[in-house]
Amino acid sequence: MVVRRVNARQHIDERSPMSESQTRPPSRLLRNLNAKIASIPMILTAVVVFAGGTAWTVLYSFTNSKLLPRLNFVGLDQYTRLWAAPRWLVSIENLLIYGVLSLIFSLVVGFVLAALLDQKIRFENTFRTIFLYPFALSFIVTGLVWQWLLNPEHGIQSVVRGLGWTSFSFDPLYNSEIVIYGILIAALWQGTGLVMCLMLAGLRGIDEDIWKAARVDGIPMWRTYLFIVIPMMRPVFVTTLVIIASGIVKVYDLVVAQTSGGPGIASEVPAKYVYDYMFFAQNLGQGFAASTMMLLSVVIVIVPWAYLEFGRRRRA
């Protein structure tokens, strides 16, 4: 290919845009021009918004910007203030509790539901439709419904009391000790259907012969799941984990709708802290610092995963 005449090469290049590796004539920028023009929105989004915007926010998190962004560097001041703010500490604590519990519960519940649906049952489609429909609803709708269900005067608590158990008390949305669990219940209602769906797809990908072999060997079903099927579904679990984790960090609408961060500051989350400081408190620097911390937490989750995936592929 390399020894071909320039004219011919140009011709070839135009015909087969995939042949990338060759050295090419001066009109390199104009080659494949239409594809480049068509990709301008993507390039702008990637470079200006995603890369540029992120860099901008991180940079300005080191300034004392208040109402307007100013390049007045104050070092790590915003971060010291952030980690001294009780509201931020509560937010982080809530995110940790919510994150760990929703990871565990949605994986367990999602997997169990998927495994049950995989038992060749009747009405599988009906059950799947029922488990998944909350996922189509927004967090706002989810939050408002569960706010109503958990309403202490009319909701579940009063119904149970009406049945005769008068000392029954379950009002997570008005009790700052357990409010985050009230949010967790709603979040699980909305999100486990998705996990179930991903798990079900993973289970269907398991070769039927594995089951036959396990049955021939007399291995009980639960052991087959625990020691054979789940290890085989590792990629599905990893993907699901990443999806759930990146969703957890973003949790915002649900809290706004269900409790508005209350009672007091008991159910605050980092995303809400960022929004409130940027658009209400007019303390941009704090907002930027808090959002940079959110970015950092995502990096901590994503990078080891990417490393593992990448490393695995290398070895393979």
């Binding site: 990709s39 995603f50 973003k250």
Partner: protein
Amino acid sequence: MNIATKSPTIAADADGDTGPRGPKPKRTLSRRNIIVYGTLLVAAIYYLLPLYVMIVTSLKGMPEIRLGNIFSPPLEITFEPWIKAWSSACTGLNCDGLSRGFWNSVRITVPSVVLSIAIASVNGYALANWRFKGSEFFFTILIVGAFIPYQVMLYPIVIILREIGLYGSLSGLVIVHSIFGMPILTLLFRNYFTSMPEELFKAARVDGAGFWGIYLRIMLPMSLPIFVVAVIIQITGIWNDFLFGVVYTRPETYPMTVQLNNIVNSVQGVKEYNVNMAATLITGLVPLIVYFVSGKLFVRGIAAGAVKG
């Protein structure tokens, strides 16, 4: 699948025994089946209960709500709450109901869906069939960007929109939705176009079709299913959005979710739970209809769109 594994054993039984033929009756009440169906039913109740309570509450009058319990069906069905939620519920000083938010959401969702899919499908097509130097690099940034919390990019986008004079307008929000829909949709289309036979593309090239010709005449007509999947992802995603709506629009142009939250969580006045639930139900209706109509395609969409988180 199990039928395949089970039928040989059943057949063997029938052959071996001289007793009655055919499959064993009364297998449905085995202990295992009771556990399986019992668990599934309990779970189904947990998932259905909120929808049921929403519907029941929205059909009751306020006196009945104050006295009765939330699970009891309405004694007297009234559509008053629905009418009030749609046309006269108040947010602040504004009392024209959810209808305003509904039409705002329509005016946001329709152009956003069209624009984001147009951009993303062309991107995916360029990435699959017309790779150029750096295209994979930009694509990688785009995919990594999908994992960055939106909060990090909120303010830079405010500045960009302000510079081009679209901050607070519906078109600004349409652009924002197109930007944030791009990673997942581009991935979706790129993977789909890559899986199409390359001969098709080459044959069109030999016949002299160019970039846009191949896209419009070959790729587009051949990939309608994936477009439907993309439409489902985008309609539900954009309709359900709250964060971008509240950041990038003004109160007159608030989408439905934002207005709903303002109606239900407003502190003034007596809480009208029936109106609130009617409003919540109306807001959830569009994605629910999309969900029930699209069926399997929705499942396919979330398998791809799950990354959006």
